[in-house]
Amino acid sequence: MSKEVIVATGLTKVFNKNLVAVDHVSFSVKHGEIFGFLGPNGAGKTTTINMLITVLRPTEGTASILGYDVVKQANEVRKVIGVVPQEYTADEDLTGYENIILCADLYGIPREVSKKRAVELLELVELTSFKDKKVETYSGGMRRRLELASGLINRPRVLFLDEPTLGLDVQTRAATWNYIKRLKEEYDMTIFMTTHYLEEADTLCDRIAIIDYGKIIITGDPEELKHSLGGDIITISIKEDVDISSIIRSVENVKEVRNENGSYRIKVESGEETAPLIIEALRRNGYTVTRLSLTEPTLNEVYLEYTGRSMRDTEESKEAFRSQRMTIRRARAR
């Protein structure tokens, strides 16, 4: 078995002949990785997932999961994947337990097995005491966990998570990630996820791809991406009122120095290693450092650098959450 679990080559989706939602996207995900798609609303994350999970047919390009082509061997793909969609898709009128069993039936899992598994999974996501309650009485967090549990009923080898923590509060988000990590270890899964929470992508993903307007802008592991920005920023002040730019510039690994009214903004490869060297060089020249601060770039800076936009779109994600609730309400109003 190849180590590449997901391979996408030139994957493209055009809606209505003119809306290019996903534009020649190529990437690969290795066994055991958590691979994250990071991008703003409408970037094409869900559309990409839908092509990978065989729900949408690519307009162009190919993709394969564990070597199975998503178009030609769609049925094989479906057997090995688990999906936790962006929306809450559980049937409101059924109980949590019934929903999971329904999923199991669709996979053709024998009832003896699925009953045991459903109980196990519900236990795992801490829904045991609600298992016989109708889903319409569940909170957002409970619904997410239920989606998670039903996405795992077939013991998938590749799990697709579309914004798994969208609209959850900070605590529930953390808890959800704990489940996901635990499940990943337990079932030895490869995970493909999308998110627009930067912290989440940063702490959880082994590798991320930033996608905007349907195109992958850059792929790499979070540290790598941050370093690609040119490293850390050191800000330094000295007692003396002299321009020390040239001294700093002579220090190894310093990329850029800017004098901002007596305080110097220095872009360096690695802040931890270079800061002592700068202090040392200044001391040798007889200057005294009075202040020093070190900032590591966050994914936000990365994001800003590559998309030209800030990713701090909490308002937007709130909006997304609200529209999701609307969908649920509309369903109930039926």
């Binding site: 994947i81 929306e87 898709t89 329904l102 669709l106 996979y107 969908t327």
Partner: protein, 319 residues
């Protein structure tokens, strides 16, 4: 963790699971079940009992016609002629008139409707009417599945695509059959007169006829709903066509009383054939040749519409 063996999703298993889901949805819903009972009650009250055509001709309406106690008959009408007049009992004449008119009324009813009471006639028409709307709406329910993402979720599982389509069709059909049973029971309680030739075996025929119409209609509506981008379209379409379909058929009035152009529509309207089949099987004296025609037409209708519907839905689901 050992890798689990591969499972084999089967059409029947998936079909059953998805159908049970739908059944649970409405069988667990008491209001919905209550509606199933109330709706026909309203129809029966409004159409069957209040618009009681037979009553116009029945003896009851003649009860208060005043007939003098003694009716003089002029001499030249009496053979042999006699001087003066003879008398006939007014009560007797009144009875004769009432009886005659009543007989004529019943004959008119039988000639026009095939049965002597409009209530029976109309109740059966109502079954096919309600069966039709129910099926159309059930076919439409896939719109919700699509909207709420349930459909995408199901599509990402290896369940055969056919199971998704057939579960909708099957659900529509089962629903229609249950409704038909409820209406027939209620109508019988309220005075529907089953024909002497009716046996429980006829019920299989009733279900078969309903099945054919339901399969045809629901699969077309399924395809239509899957493909229309606006949720409201199928709804609008249903409200647009139900009334015309009802009036251009024999559900409420016999086709023979209609103007020619309407007759032409009624003769291709599958609702006419379903209604006639149901009437043949329940309240009329069974006419086998007519019933055969009905079933042939319904079978044809079901085959054509469900082929179109299933092919279109299939294409959509495996796009």
């Amino acid at each position: 963790m050992s890798r689990v063996k591969e499972y084999h999703p089967s059409l029947l298993r998936g079909l059953w699971a998805l159908t049970v889901r739908e059944l649970k949805k409405w069988l667990n819903d008491p209001i919905m079940l209550l509606m199933l009972v109330i709706q026909p009650l309203i129809w029966m009250g409004l159409l069957g009992k209040s618009m009681n055509l037979a009553a116009m001709f029945s003896a009851g309406n003649l009860g208060n016609i005043e007939v003098p106690e003694k009716i003089p008959i002029p001499g030249n009408y009496v053979i042999p002629p006699a001087n003066g007049v003879i008398y006939v009992s007014g009560t007797m004449v009144s009875q004769i008139i009432q009886q005659t008119v009543s007989d004529i009324g019943a004959n008119v009813m039988r000639n026009v409707f095939g049965v002597t009471d409009y209530f029976s006639y109309m109740s059966i028409g109502m079954i096919s009417m309600i069966v039709m709307t129910t099926t159309m709406f059930s076919g439409m329910s896939i719109v919700w599945d699509r909207r709420l993402g349930f459909l995408d979720k199901v599509l990402s599982t290896p369940v055969p695509r056919g199971a998704i389509i057939f579960s909708k069709v099957l659900n529509a059909t089962l629903r229609a059959m249950l409704q038909a049973t409820i209406i027939l029971t209620l109508a019988t309680i309220f005075g529907l007169q089953l024909s002497p030739s009716f046996t429980l075996i006829n019920m299989f025929g009733v279900y078969a006829a309903i099945f054919l119409l339901s399969v045809g209609l629901s699969s077309v509506f399924l395809a239509f709903s899957l493909r229309s981008t606006k949720l409201e379209r199928p709804m609008q379409f249903i409200s647009l066509i139900t009334m015309p379909l009802m009036f251009a058929s024999n559900t409420l009035f016999p086709i023979t009383l209609m103007p020619d152009w309407l007759q032409a529509v009624a003769y291709v309207n599958p609702l006419s054939y379903l209604t006639d089949a149901l009437r043949q099987l329940t309240i009329l004296t069974l006419d086998v040749s007519k019933l055969t025609t009905d079933f042939m037409y319904l079978g044809f209708f079901a085959t054509v519409l469900s082929s179109i519907g299933i092919v279109l839905s299939w294409r959509y689901l495996s796009k």
